[in-house]
């Protein structure tokens, strides 16, 4: 029961601030599982997070954990766990009969964690980082024995396979006969029940019955589960279930349903009357029913929230306080102000600027009540060059066009021509001076889109020769001979799926199929670091808006937070049930949003690694994310062509933008947040009225219950549709003056 055990320990670890030893245990076991099968590990921990340790089944689990710990000779942890869980020795003893002595002892473990601690003391990071180190020193004992069978063994209690259809159709008849208001709610049961019954049949080798069952009832399921059903239908043998990630997800995570108390009572009564044990068992075992008081929800309300792999988010999952406000901008010091004034003087109107500046300053001084503390997470100090850049940016911002429904932005399209290798990702620097593309042939190419050519720094020998006291030393260190419009960066060994510039334009991050994230210097155009840890394709990476930190996520379902000067991740965000397809930093750098193929968006707290928001409602893998500039909202786009808008503070969906006919690969808010631009595979850029979309009143009732009424006003919000020339739009960027840049590779086919 390894997988389940890990999760349990980890959740314990999260709840209480535990001593080091237990942290090690968590790291140890989860690490072991990860190296064996990353999917199992992440889903397991996801499940663990969801599961609260109550009920009789939990004790079994705890016992199993104890057993595992003993086997690994982690005696201290055993004691702690026993003490905390209040388990008696006898119980424990009775369970333990085969405490196999594993190879690596506690001593080596201890060493490992000491090493880790010393390594990472500077980072002041908690267990998350240590877990990773510990993972590398884990004994391989557990690896050989796949835990899948144990996971699946929950399916062993079975009824008569021939009766499954009867059970299911009995429930179906019941649900169809109840009052309309309850029917929609209870219909949510169909899909998880169907899946679990089918899997039980398959697991118990009733292949024929399973097939008949599938064919009879698969048509009843909501159309947005089509993709999952396709996977299911291919699976007809117990052997297939091993290593199938989707199944592990179904099993290990409880499918969450939200049902009103009335409806739930109805269901319960029905099942008790009919003595329908099979279904009741499944509901108990695999479903989590989140009961609320009040009016049952309507069909459309349910539909808008459902669709994710593990059902809806529980209400309490979105209750944590999120500091979504922006950080106070650092005040620019006097000498820099002077410089600014000088520049103004040159322009010949020195007076006008003054009051405006004060205005800006006072605005900055007001502390946003929703903002996190300035030093909630340590941010890098501003360098002089950063300050200069800030000033530039502020100057530009004064010339920014105020967008609105009547003043739409101009759009420039950057077309990548002759990209036979396949363009997979694009990023543009904040000041729009550089554009970089990641290609399927493992290269990263950087172009300068201003007349300023790209130059390398001179070699060390040449650098010795230059006059270091000269005013223009920064200019002198550049090697004029290397000036060119574009540079190619070689280093990856797989398609480059994610790419991100650092805010100061000195670095570039790229994530690739080869499982690494690489940091490149844009001064020398060489690779500085290869961050290894994902071991599976890394789908996306992004720099924090303040630099230094970055986040990456990929096939292993764990998003990692890194700092550029650490080769190990600082945080690991586990919980998604399928690949993490896109990652995005909150503007205040305190949170990270991840979109996943499990059709949820999660928001993670960088400080403690907790998942603070789960947004369900997408019906397909999510491929793009964008935070509004004020940090209050997040938009997400998926393969179904829909863009959903979320209110972070309330944890609610507040809008749905329908219009695209293919995957939305790019989302971006204008600099002031009035316009949301979306770019899609269908070769269009669409502009949406973000202000109007966010102008929904969230009353207390909605906020408390999470029952939302989405206005169907996509057409009103759509401000324009702009066609490209058979070019999918894979990146969007607003310049500091609110000119919209779009980018994509021209596809001649």
């Amino acid at each position: 029961m390894a997988a389940v055990q890990d999760g349990q320990v980890e959740s314990d670890a999260e709840k209480e601030t535990k001593p080091d030893a237990s942290n090690d245990v968590a790291g140890n076991s989860s690490g072991g599982a990860r190296s064996m099968s990353p999917n199992a590990a992440s889903s397991a921990s996801g499940a663990a997070k969801a599961a609260a340790p109550t009920g009789p089944g939990e004790q079994q689990t705890l016992l199993a954990v104890l057993q595992f710990l003993k086997r690994s000779k982690l005696l201290e942890s055993v004691d702690i766990l026993r003490r905390e869980a209040g388990l008696s020795d006898e119980l424990d003893e009775s369970q333990t009969n085969d405490g196999a002595a594993a190879g690596s002892g506690a001593g080596s473990q201890g060493e490992g964690s000491v090493d880790a601690a010393s390594l990472l003391r500077r980072v002041s990071v908690g267990g998350a980082a240590a877990t990773n180190i510990a993972a590398t020193t884990t004994s391989k004992g557990a690896e050989d024995q796949p835990d899948v069978s144990i996971v699946l063994s929950a399916y062993s209690q079975q009824g008569d396979p021939a009766l499954y259809q009867v059970y299911y159709s009995g429930l179906k008849n019941f649900i169809e006969s109840v009052l309309d208001c309850h029917r929609a709610e209870l219909s949510q049961l169909f899909y998880p029940l169907f899946v679990h019954m089918y899997l039980e049949l398959v697991y118990n080798n009733h292949e024929h019955e399973a097939k008949v069952f599938f064919e009879k009832f698969s048509g009843d399921q909501e159309c947005y589960y089509r993709d999952d059903l396709r996977v299911l239908s291919g699976l007809t043998k117990k052997e297939h279930m091993k290593g199938n990630e989707t199944l592990l997800d179904f099993r290990t995570s409880k499918f969450v349903l939200r049902i009103s108390r009335d409806s739930y009572q109805l269901l319960k009564r029905h099942l008790q009357e009919r003595q329908n044990n099979q279904i009741w068992l499944i509901i108990q075992e695999h479903l989590y029913i989140d009961i609320f008081d009040g009016m049952p929800r309507s069909k459309s309300q349910i539909d808008s929230m459902s669709g994710s792999l593990a059902g809806e988010a529980r209400r309490e999952a979105n209750k944590a306080k999120v500091y979504y406000g922006l950080l106070k901008e650092p005040e620019i010091e006097v000498p820099l102000d002077d410089e600014d004034d000088e520049a103004e003087n040159e322009e010949g109107k020195p007076k006008k600027k003054k009051p405006k500046k004060d205005n800006l300053g006072s605005k900055n001084k007001k502390q946003d009540p929703n903002a996190p503390q300035q030093n909630r997470i340590p941010l890098p100090e501003l360098k002089d060059s950063d300050k200069l850049d800030k000033i530039m940016s502020m100057k530009e911002a004064t010339k920014k066009i105020r967008l609105g429904p009547d003043t739409l932005p101009s759009i420039c399209f950057y077309t990548f021509l002759n990209a036979y290798q396949g363009l997979t990702s694009v990023d543009v620097t904040d000041d729009s001076s550089l554009i970089a593309g990641g290609f399927a042939d493992s290269t990263v190419r950087v172009w300068s889109v201003t007349p300023k050519k790209l130059r390398k720094v001179k070699s060390a020998a040449d650098l010795n020769l230059i006059d270091k006291e000269a005013d223009d030393v920064l200019e002198r260190i550049m090697d004029e001979k290397t000036a060119s419009e574009s540079k190619i960066l070689y280093g990856h060994s797989g398609p480059v799926y994610g790419i991100s510039f650092s805010p100061d334009r000195n670095y570039l991050l790229s994530s690739s199929e080869d499982g690494t994230v690489r940091l490149w210097s844009l001064q020398t155009f060489t690779c500085l670091v290869g961050y290894k840890g994902h071991n599976y394709p890394v789908w996306d990476t992004q720099f924090s808006p303040y630099g230094y930190y970055f986040v990456s996520g990929g096939h292993d379902r764990i998003a990692r937070l890194w700092a550029t000067d650490h080769y190990q991740p600082l945080r690991m965000f586990a919980g998604h049930l399928a690949d993490i397809t896109c990652t995005h930093f909150h503007p205040n750098s305190n949170y990270v949003a991840t979109g996943s193929a499990d059709r949820t968006v999660r928001l993670w707290d960088v400080l403690n690694g907790n998942c603070v928001r789960i947004f369900s409602g997408h019906k397909g893998p999510i491929h793009s994310l964008a935070f509004s500039p004020n940090g209050k909202y997040v938009a997400s786009g998926a393969t179904d062509g829909r863009v959903l808008l979320w209110d972070i503070g309330h944890g609610l969906m507040i809008g749905e933008l329908k219009g695209h006919t293919d995957t939305v690969y790019a989302l971006k808010f204008s600099r002031d947040g009035e316009i949301l631009a979306s770019g899609s595979m269908d070769g269009t850029v669409r502009l949406w009225d973000a202000l109007k979309a966010f102008d929904v009143e969230t009353d207390d009732f909605t906020a408390a219950t999470g029952h939302i009424h989405l206005p169907d006003n996509s057409q009103e919000l759509l401000l324009g549709t702009y066609m490209t020339k058979s070019t999918p739009v894979i990146h969007l960027h607003f310049t500091r003056r609110n000119l919209l840049l779009a980018a994509g590779g021209y596809n001649s086919q």
Binding site: K211, G234, Y420, P537, H623, G720, M723
Partner: protein, 636 residues
């Protein structure tokens, strides 16, 4: 077991498994094979599902072999090598047995290595930016076409451009001719069009150099005649360049020795040519042209050479333009001109010479106006038939007077009247709204009062018409009938009247247009639309009999206006194009000749005439006269 399943997924049969096992030297039983087959299918599906992930992240719609290999590699299966090519891999069936295989041809490495036609390396990956939408609206370039960035100038094109411009603007007349000819026939210069248009717009900077102006105009002509070029909105720019040559008091005209008159004549011809072949590319172009011509004409401050340009421009645009713009202006203008002509002072000699030029041009224009008017007016007398003929005569007369031109201008002036009515500022002449055709006798009388006998003298050169026109005022009805008869009988004669319009006949290269060459088709059309059999036989011996049947359906189905298949083998596409051109315009002429008639009769054709530009736009290439093979693509 489950048919649905089998239909939904690719299946590997147990026979295949057995075969593979055999080839690997293993004997497997039926049961094992069946189990293996099923497992293989499942694994295949799994790999396919995984591979789709790689496709999605590469932001593609097409699943490649590469994607599949990645999925295999990540599930610790050896990748399949050798299928990485982008092209589709066709399956071929083998003769014996139901075996399909991917064709895998041997590659001769030696040949490949020694091959001389080494393919050029792939072009470098680059980023191009273009403003797609300004302020969220307006599309600067037409959508759906190949991105202009893609066809950004290649080295070769750039070289071509330099060579051509150098040749055309250079010294060597022979080289220039070659260059112009190539410009007229080259099919690959679409990307250069904006550059050429830009060069041509340089007319304003060389207004002192007649020679250069002339060359640039020739360049316009070549571009306009190139069947492979879609001029699009560049027409406007070309027209403005040409108008510049027609109307502006060029620096070159200060010297009386410079023959800028010829330049103006040629430019006027070119203008009407552009208009009749490409006029529908830009809406309202005709009226803009008319308006600017009118403005120049009504502006007494302008020098006489500008007035001259306006008159020849109007003349080139057809007699209706003359009737609507020049004729109403004539009384006002006449006073000015008279003053110039009557001034015998020495200092005025040059101006007076210019005045005579203008006088001559007006005379020629007015004269054709009268002739055409007479022909068209003869229609009411004889009903529809006469009308047709009158117009037909008009065609011929026009054709002959301006050989470089394609169809006559009447139709659009009719069609666009509504548009022009509000464009017109109600200034000089008479407003378009209440413009009513002046009866021919009145017109003749008025013109006679200006030109006196010189008008009659000119007419006397046309022997057949001579008697009838001066007689018109007194016996209009008879005269009209006679006119018709004359027109019918004396078509050849009227074609022999170049001396009348010598002034306008200066098309420097009569080889230019295919329309000079096939008058028979145009005749045939006249005949086709003419329900009167004997006349048809008589007049158009060259016409095809099949057309008669096509005739009646024309009003209803404009698109049926094509020559029936037997009109000629499609291989003579050139001819078809020419005819078709003529035919289409014949259709328009046919419409407009009904113009003065009661609205009931004229309504349907008018509607059709309005639609015409639309149709024309859809099937753009048809308008190009030499673009014969395009015309076959027109949906029939």
């Amino acid at each position: 077991m489950a048919e649905r399943e089998e239909r939904r997924f690719a299946e590997v049969s147990r026979d295949s498994v057995k075969l593979m096992a055999e080839s690997a030297g293993v004997e497997v039983g039926d049961e094992v094979a069946a189990l293996l087959a099923e497992d293989v299918c499942y694994r295949l599906r799994e790999a396919a599902q995984n591979s789709s992930q790689f496709m999605r992240h590469a932001k593609r719609r097409k699943l490649t072999v590469e994607d599949f290999n990645r999925a295999l590699r990540w599930s610790n299966v050896e990748a399949v090598c050798g299928y990485g090519a982008q092209d589709a891999l066709p399956f071929r069936p083998a003769k014996e047995g139901e075996l399909f295989f991917v064709e895998d041809r041997d590659v001769n490495l030696v040949n490949l290595a020694l091959a001389t036609n080494i393919p050029n390396g792939c072009a470098e990956t680059m980023v191009r930016v273009h403003v797609s939408y300004l302020d969220g609206k307006g599309n600067l370039e037409p959508q759906g076409t190949v991105p202009s960035a893609v066809q950004s100038l290649s080295e070769d094109l750039l070289k071509y451009y330099q060579q051509i411009t150098r040749a055309i603007l250079g010294e060597d007349p022979h080289l220039m001719k070659v260059a112009l000819l190539d410009l007229q026939t080259n099919s690959k210069i679409a990307a250069l069009l904006p550059y050429f248009v830009y060069v041509i717009s340089g007319v304003k900077s060389v207004s002192h150099d007649l020679e250069q102006l002339n060359r640039l105009l020739h360049m316009v002509k070549s571009l306009v005649q190139n069947p492979y070029l879609y001029l699009g909105s560049y027409v406007r720019s070309l027209v403005s360049s040409v108008m510049y040559c027609i109307l502006e008091p060029l620096a070159a005209s200060i010297n009386p020795l410079n023959d800028h008159w010829t330049l103006r004549d040629y430019a006027a011809l070119l203008l009407s040519h552009i208009f009749w072949t490409h006029g529908d590319l830009v809406s309202g172009l005709y009226h803009q042209i008319l308006l600017s011509l009118q403005k120049v004409l009504s502006d007494p401050v302008r020098p006489l050479c500008s007035h001259y340009g306006a008159v020849v421009g109007l003349h080139a645009l057809g007699w209706k333009a003359v009737e609507r713009v020049l004729y109403p202006h004539l009384p006002a203008y006449w006073a000015n001109l008279q003053a110039v002509l009557d001034d015998y002072s020495v200092s005025n000699a040059q101006v007076k010479a210019d005045g005579h030029k203008v006088y001559g041009a007006i005379l020629v224009a007015v004269e054709r106006l009268l002739k055409m008017k007479a022909l068209s007016l003869s229609k009411p007398a004889e009903g529809g038939v006469g009308g047709q003929q009158g117009t037909a005569g008009g065609v011929l007369g026009f054709r002959e007077s301006s050989p470089g031109l394609s169809p006559p201008p009447e139709p659009l002036s009719e069609a666009g009247l509504g548009i022009a009515s509000h464009l017109q500022a109600g200034g000089a002449g008479c407003p378009w709204e209440d413009w009513t055709p002046v009866p021919l006798p009145a017109m003749y009388c008025e013109l006679y009062s200006f030109f006196g006998d010189s008008l009659a003298v000119r007419f006397s050169t046309g022997p057949e018409l001579e008697g009838c026109l001066p007689a018109l005022p007194c016996q209009p009805a008879d005269a009209r009938k006679e006119t018709v008869a004359n027109a019918a009988a004396g078509l050849d004669n009227s074609r022999k009247m170049p001396q009348l319009t010598a002034n306008l006949n200066i098309s420097p290269r009569p080889d230019g247009s295919p329309h000079t060459e096939p008058p028979p088709p145009s005749l045939a059309k006249v005949a086709g639309s003419n329900p009167d059999p004997p006349r048809l036989q008589r007049r158009s011996s060259s016409s095809r009999p099949g057309q008669r049947s096509a005739g009646p359906s024309r009003d209803v189905f404009p698109k049926a206006r094509f020559p029936p298949p037997q009109a000629g083998p499609p291989s003579f596409s050139f001819l078809i194009g020419g005819r078709q051109m003529g035919r289409r315009c014949q259709g328009r002429r046919f419409q407009t000749s009904f113009g003065p008639q009661p609205p009931l009769a004229s309504l349907p054709p008018r509607a059709y005439a309005h639609k015409l530009p639309v149709i024309g736009r859809v099937s753009k290439p048809v308008r190009r006269w030499t673009c014969s093979h395009y015309s076959l693509h027109l949906p029939l």
